[in-house]
Amino acid sequence: MVTEVNLCGIRLKNPVIPASGTFGFGTEMAGMYDLNVLGGISLKGTTKNDRYGNECPRIAECPEGMINSVGLQNPGIDALLEEKVPALRKIFGGAIIANISGFSVEEYVHCCEKASKSPEIDILEVNISCPNVHGGGMAFGTSATAAAEVTAAVKAVSRKPVFIKLSPNVTDIVEIARACENAGADGLTLINTILGMRIDIARRKPVVANRYGGFSGRAIFPIALRMVNQVASACSIPIMGCGGVSCAEDVIEMMMAGATAVQVGAENLRNPMVCKQIVEELPQVMNKYGISDINEIIKAV
């Protein structure tokens, strides 16, 4: 039974990857299980300088999902490369995906150029879709022109495959995906969280201090699946499918929709063992549906 997939020349032993922001920098999880069962790990979003992020509360529960407004808390690109990535590489042999965010094209370029030179990083995931920071992040992901500009700029300085992580908070995700592909993106990750809100009716105030936040969890799976399918139909570069994945069947579904690898996000926060469980269940589920090589189902639908 073949579970190995290939992302732009990077071989993953299986398509299961914890999504950025739901698995810290990997080492936080090392005590829970052997991370080497995973195909890859997408690290927490990183910016040029360290960031505290937004004030608390940063979390609001929703039916079948949650809102977060962490706001890219991270130690900055230098600490990522000097401390976080080497620490993870010591215990993890799979693909390390650095997730890069920024507030200007120059900042994306600065971080991608540095991360690209790290021998321990396999893939760059450029986050142009964070809904929780103002004047940056998602601003680049909601305009095809800006998305293409960031893509071309980071591609020019990167020796590693560059995946652009797309926002679902747009009128036409296909237009932006095409713009990224045309600008040279090696792949796409979709979707980031959907901008949402909860209100504390007793206090008459938003639950999260930043007012709005990114909605994720099982509830968004059908939306993510639809967008992956639309983008896969329009583009030829590989996709990491992300959004509401919670079990091995979801992984199969996401790959049939068009993903080559599948990221698991919010489910890690309610069940920190979920990625390991999905990896363990995957061969049984493949067997159940008569799939001998997982690559045969990519874009099957």
Binding site: G21, T22, F23, G24, E28, M29, G31, M32, K44, Y52, G53, C56, P57, R58, I59, A60, E61, C62, P63, E64, G65, M66, N68, V70, Q73, G217, R218, A266, N268, L269, R270, N271, P272, M273
Partner: protein
């Protein structure tokens, strides 16, 4: 290290106004200190619910919880025999070793639960322990008999004066002559802040924040500290007085 396991409800009863105590049976090997917490998966709710552990032994542990929303409301109807998916051994807990000879332990409301194991550990370690528990009213008083039996010197304040000293925990502290070398506190933030500012001795306080994962991976419960941003769930919940930025 955090550990995911299944636990069986042994008992679940209301012990004070809107406050319940649940005893759970299962693996307690992940517990190491009083003041640690567990994260309980409640069927039908996306996120787990974090609760401090009152006490644990070789066969199980118990938590006290206040009914504050749908999740805790549903927990009150859980019968003995119900099996729950729980993450245990979360958080750093209190450091009893920092107290040399005499400790002051100050709790507010439900904060009496997470400091209970600490008090027993301090007493067992030969320290003299003074406990000041603050409540709104006599009906809210928790664990009074357990604390009385712990060997610590127990004092109570209620805001309405229905039991003990009328007023705040700080009013009780004013009346006491203690030779304490270290303090521990858990309760409402305003109370802990007042306690930390009043006492000149070193000490530590257990903070609270709305959490996502409870085990340090989502950065949803970060707080400012003198040592930079820290996760309440994994770097805390207990922080030293000098590191806390109120």
């Amino acid at each position: 290290m955090p550990q995911a396991s299944r636990y069986k409800v042994i008992s679940n009863r209301e012990v004070a106004s809107q406050t319940w105590q649940m005893r759970l049976e299962g693996d307690t090997s992940a517990f190491s200190r009083g003041g640690q917490f567990v994260d309980v998966a409640v069927c039908g709710h996306f996120l787990r619910r974090p609760f401090a552990v009152r006490e644990w032994d070789d066969t199980g542990f118990d938590i006290l919880y206040k009914v504050v929303g749908h999740g805790t409301e549903e927990m009150t109807s859980m019968q003995a025999g119900t099996v729950l998916d729980i993450l245990t051994g979360l958080g750093n807990g209190f450091d009893a070793s920092r107290c040399k000879a005499s400790a002051l332990v100050v709790s507010g409301g439900l904060g009496a639960s997470p400091v209970f194991s600490l008090v027993k550990e301090l007493v067992a370690g030969g320290r003299s322990v003074t406990v000041v528990m603050g409540y709104n009213t006599a009906d809210d008083i928790l664990l009074f008999d357990e604390y009385k039996a712990s060997g610590a010197d127990i004092h109570i304040s209620t805001l309405d004066g229905s039991k003990g000293v009328k007023g705040f925990v700080t009013d009780v502290i004013d009346t006491l002559q203690g030779n304490w070398d270290y303090f521990y506190t858990c309760g409402p933030k305003v109370m802990m802040k007042a306690v930390c500012e009043k006492l000149e001795i070193p000490g530590e306080a257990s903070l609270e924040e709305r959490m996502g994962c409870g085990c340090g991976i989502c950065y949803g419960c970060t707080c400012h500290t003198a040592k930079g941003p820290k996760r309440v769930c994994a770097d805390g919940p207990v922080f030293r007085k000098e590191d806390i930025i109120w």
